[in-house]
């Protein structure tokens, strides 16, 4: 019996080639999109899950921040040994550091200070070395396999010496490279005991938030028990209430990075949802094609169904027959889809910078997953046509042309076409919004001029400044500790009006005179720092207008402020600078357009890490060469790095940019599949109405009037779809835009453009076929009965 089904299915598919190819292309593309997006979603949600105890590891959060005090971990472990299985601290250094071996210098960024317990908490297998003892000496260093290869080539690195920050360290272990799907990656591990050599008491200070603390709990321990004891520790050692301390599950970190997280990879869970939804949409659109074309084709098969029933087939047998047809089609589509995936995956993988091939190795789970996906597609796409077709009454089936019982399917078919175009138009609206928002962010006036501004390390700055400033291509040059695009740190401050024991914090930018001018930051009132006035260098502040608003100052000029920094021994804060506000700058976007501009205080400091150079537009190349030459002379051998500020700031929107491009691609595919379906339906309808068209032409209808006749019905459906897409698009995209502090308005134009392009593309699809039918010789269709 099954053989008979398969046989007739294959013959049917072979006979109606247009029908078959439209379904195959649509379904296979839909499946391929689903497979690729599933792989991506699987990768995005796999972060940090490779640790053996992944479900029992938590990061301690201090309110909105993951930065905790260094003594927290040892105290917690010592005082609550029953509660805490184990605990480990990380202090990642982001600044590039030189590692020296036998005169060879390598500059590494990802070095992390940690405790020996790291190997009890996390799963980082050692290729060589003993995890129990590898980090027990302050003079040990563990390196990753790839770093070992880079440094020592084929030689065994164990016991070798590496000099870091002037101290000789012994390689005591080699760990497997930290997987890419890890929120915190490092190339080298050194002991926190070593850090004491450089930072002294700071490492035991309760007033410094610098460490990330991860606890491993017993499976039976409830996180709330730990969250209950944290405040008591804080009140015991700090005389402060930190009621907001809580635990963040390890697997949660990737999608929920906290304030002040540094060196942490993070993803956007919303994007995971968005792309997954779209992939499902694309597949549904393809399924709808199948349903539509199959029910449309049903009228060609009434005779077959009627005859089968007359010969004794029951409804179940016929349902099985048509469902198996759907399965044959969907499995053929799967094979084709796997081919598309093989073609597209390398591109998608390098585009998203995620190693997706590695996940796609046809293991049993993947194969079962693919088969069930295909079965589901077969059932969704095939069940309606199957039930519909098998429900024909044999007596009606022979009244060949009356097609009774098909009326209900026509309505459904129209509904489904509208549905497809609602989704497609919605996707056009969404893609367009994403695109416009991105363009808006890239062109937005940041409050300063980021074009032709080069940023580089401010090493031996006075010497560097003297020489670089003389280059003909340099318009101006200055330096600062942090530049826009980086996170400006919070420091405590106080004003005259505030109680002496209250210490709110404010983001702080420390600059050399001329910095504001070099970046073209505009003054709202007062003046900028003047190198000639000594008090400007030692006792003056400039604030931004948000800060003025925040402090409630109508006229900030001349107000007094105190700015705090760590005391000498690092155990408390003390007044580091007191002075008067000499100017207010216009708010400028120093972070990302995702965030509103926060209050900012700026003052002069000689402690700088970045030089900013405004280059004359036509002399970029020569100036760059000059700067590089000067750097090599003055820096004492450090590697030269630089970037242009506008490019760096654009990078902030990389994830949106990628989303936008993936979105655009998927939208095109959805539209393509919808149009394929529309094309199939048009071919079918024009065939069905061939006789009518012939009669109309004999009676004098023009080609144009016939095209209109045939296109009108479909256009109506596209417009209905558009009507549904408007409110959905408006709501969804407004929700998306709330992620941005600075955003475009969803204007009528976006919707109009989306609607017009959907209509235009649909019209193109339909009229092509209609024109063919309309210009055919009527005699052919008339004698053809």
């Amino acid at each position: 019996m099954l053989k008979n089904y398969i046989k007739i299915a294959l013959r049917h598919l072979k006979k109606y080639k247009t029908y078959t190819s439209i379904n195959l292309i649509g379904l296979s593309v839909g499946l391929a999109v689903c497979i690729i997006i599933t792989l991506w979603v699987r990768y995005e949600t796999s972060y940090d899950k490779y640790h053996e105890h992944a479900n029992d590891i938590y990061r301690v959060l201090n309110g909105p921040s993951a930065a905790t005090q260094p003594p927290l971990a040892p105290t917690l472990k010592a005082e609550y040994p029953d509660l805490i299985e184990d605990i480990v601290r990380f202090w990642p250094i982001q600044a590039p550091s030189d590692l020296v071996n036998n005169g060879q210098v390598f500059t590494e960024r990802n070095i992390t200070f940690t405790d020996p317990s790291i190997f009890n908490v996390f799963t980082h297998p050692l290729v060589d070395g003993n995890p129990e003892t590898a980090l027990s000496s302050p003079n040990s260093i563990l390196i990753s396999q790839s770093l070992a290869k880079k440094f020592f080539k084929e030689e065994n690195p164990m016991g070798e010496s590496i000099k870091m920050w002037g101290t000789d360290l012994e390689v005591t272990g080699i760990f497997e490279d930290v997987p890419l799907n890890s929120h915190h990656r490092f190339e080298a591990l050194v002991s926190i005991d070593l850090l004491k050599n450089y930072m002294g008491n700071m490492v035991d200070s309760w007033s410094w938030n610098g460490f990330y603390t991860y606890v491993l709990l017993d499976q039976s321990t409830n996180t709330s028990e730990v969250e209950r004891v944290l405040p008591s520790i804080y009140s015991k050692y700090m005389n402060e209430d930190y009621n907001e301390a809580h635990l963040q599950p390890l697997s949660d970190i990737y999608f929920n990075p906290q304030d002040k997280d540094i060196g942490v990879a993070f993803g956007n869970l919303n994007y995971v949802y968005i792309l997954a939804t779209i992939a499902i949409f694309v597949l549904i659109i393809a399924c709808v094609n199948f349903m539509n074309l199959a029910t449309a084709h049903a009228s060609l098969r009434t005779k077959e169904v009627g005859m089968r029933k007359t010969l004794g087939a029951d409804k179940f047998q016929l349902t099985t027959q048509f469902l198996s047809e759907a399965f044959i089609l969907s499995f053929t589509a799967l094979l084709l889809a796997l081919f598309w995936v093989e073609l597209a995956l390398p591109f998608f993988s390098s585009f998203t910078e995620k190693p997706l091939e590695a996940l796609f190795n046809y293991d049993l789970t993947s194969i079962l997953g693919l088969i069930s996906l295909t079965l589901i597609v077969g059932i969704i796409a095939g069940s309606y046509p199957a039930f519909f077709l098998s429900g024909f009454k044999p007596i009606n089936a022979f009244k060949s042309k009356s097609n009774s019982g098909i009326g209900s399917s026509v309505l459904l078919r129209k509904g489904l076409v509208s549905f497809q175009f609602a989704i497609s138009t919605f996707m056009i609206i969404a893609a367009l919004t994403v695109f416009l928002q991105l363009r808006f962010m890239q062109n937005k006036d940041l409050g300063f001029d980021d074009d032709y501004v080069m940023v580089m390390e401010a090493k031996n700055y006075p010497l560097l400044y003297d020489q670089v400033n003389k280059l003909p291509g340099v318009e101006s040059m200055s330096a600062a500790y942090n530049v826009p695009g980086q996170r400006f740190p919070f420091y405590p401050f106080r004003t005259e009006e505030m109680a002496s024991d209250s210490l709110p914090t404010m983001r702080t930018l420390r600059v050399n005179p001329g910095f504001l001018e070099t970046l073209g930051i505009r003054m709202e009132s007062g003046r900028s720092f003047d190198e000639e006035r000594s008090t400007d260098l030692t006792n003056s502040f400039v604030i931004n207008s948000s800060a003025a608003k925040y402090l409630g100052w109508e006229d900030p000029i001349g107000r007094k402020m105190y700015w705090y920094n760590f005391s000498e021994d690092g155990t408390s804060f003390e007044i580091a600078k007191e002075g008067l506000v000499i100017g207010v700058v216009d708010d400028f976007n120093y972070a990302s357009l995702h965030n509103p501009i926060e209050p900012l205080v700026i003052h002069v400091s000689q402690q700088v890490n970045s030089a900013v150079i405004r280059v004359k537009p036509n002399q970029v190349e020569s100036t760059l060469a000059g700067v590089r030459r000067i750097w090599n002379e003055t820096s004492g051998g450090s590697p030269f790095w630089y970037y242009f500020l506008d490019e760096e700031l654009d990078n902030k929107y990389q994830s949106e940019l990628k989303l936008g491009q993936v979105f655009g691609g998927l939208t095109s595919l959805a539209l393509l599949i919808s149009c394929l379906g529309l094309f199939g339906l048009t071919v079918f309808t024009t065939n069905q109405r061939a006789k009518e068209i012939g009669i109309r032409k004999v009676l004098g209808a023009s080609v144009a009037s016939i095209i209109t006749l045939l296109s009108k019905d479909f256009l109506k459906l596209v417009l209905i779809g558009f009507a549904f897409a408007i409110p959905i698009g408006w709501y969804t995209m407004n929700t998306w835009l709330t992620d941005f502090a600075y955003k475009i308005n969803l204007g009528v134009g976006i919707f109009l453009f989306a609607g017009c392009s959907a209509v235009f593309i649909a019209l193109l699809t339909v009229s092509w076929q209609s024109a063919k039918a309309a210009s055919a010789n009527p005699v052919n269709s008339l004698k053809n009965e």
Binding site: K303, E304, R308, G312, D314, I395
Partner: protein, 229 residues
């Protein structure tokens, strides 16, 4: 075999009611060859559909093989049809995607026979219709007469006791038509009951009995000379 008592069939649309059959009483015994004649629209096909259990009467009783089947559901009617009734149509109604052999085999498939049994019976039926040499052809590759012979093979393959033929020669020229009628007459001689709707007096000559319908009524029933039930 067939008893129809006061059969009535009314088709109603939103606006009009059409009475297709009105108080039709017919009895057909096993082994008979009955022709039903009448002008277009007199209710011939409606009667045939009810006799073939493709449709229910609006009123009256219909007994098939001793069972009252007047108000059965489509599912129950399908059970009675299976293996008992063979159909032959004016337009042959072969399934285009199936070969000659597969078309003939189809009723056996739905009866759940094994492949060997199906092959044996289908080949026997084709042999009987002299269509074995065309067994792997598709319907479109055959002449009208050949197609109708395949349709007959399909109707008899399951040893149907009753064959209902709706203008079996209507789409055929006279040579092919005669050929088909001879085959039907042979089947009847071998014991199959045949009820045939026809316009053609020539074809009706093959039958033992002719029932004339007009506007849904049985007008006359003629026993043709030389035939005795």
């Amino acid at each position: 075999m067939i008893q129809a008592k006061n059969l009535k069939k009314i088709y109603s649309t939103e606006e009009v009611e059409t009475t297709a059959l009105n108080n039709v009483n017919i009895e057909i015994k096993e082994g008979e060859f009955v022709a039903i004649m009448g002008p277009s629209g007199c209710g011939k096909s409606t009667l045939l559909n009810i006799m073939g259990l493709l449709d229910n009467p609006s009123d009256g009783e219909y007994h098939f093989l001793g069972n009252n089947v007047s108000n059965k559901t489509e599912r129950e009617r399908a059970q009675f049809r299976k293996g008992n009734i063979g159909f032959i149509f004016q337009s042959f109604n072969l399934i285009d995607e199936l070969t000659v052999f597969e078309n003939v085999e189809l009723p056996l498939l739905y009866l759940g026979m094994s492949a060997d049994e199906r092959k044996e019976k289908a080949e026997a039926a084709l042999e009987r219709m002299s269509m074995m040499h065309r067994r792997n052809h598709f319907p479109q590759q055959l002449s009208g007469g050949q197609q109708q012979r395949v349709a007959i093979a399909r109707a008899v393959v399951a040893n149907a006791k009753l064959i209902l033929a709706d203008e079996p020669t209507g789409n055929l020229d006279s040579d092919h038509g005669n050929e088909v009628m001879k085959v039907l007459a042979e089947l009847n001689e071998q014991g199959t009951t045949i009820v045939m709707v026809t316009h053609s007096p020539h074809d009706a000559d093959y039958a033992m009995r002719v029932i004339h319908l007009f506007d849904g009524h049985v007008v006359t029933e003629n026993m043709r000379e030389g035939f005795h039930v």
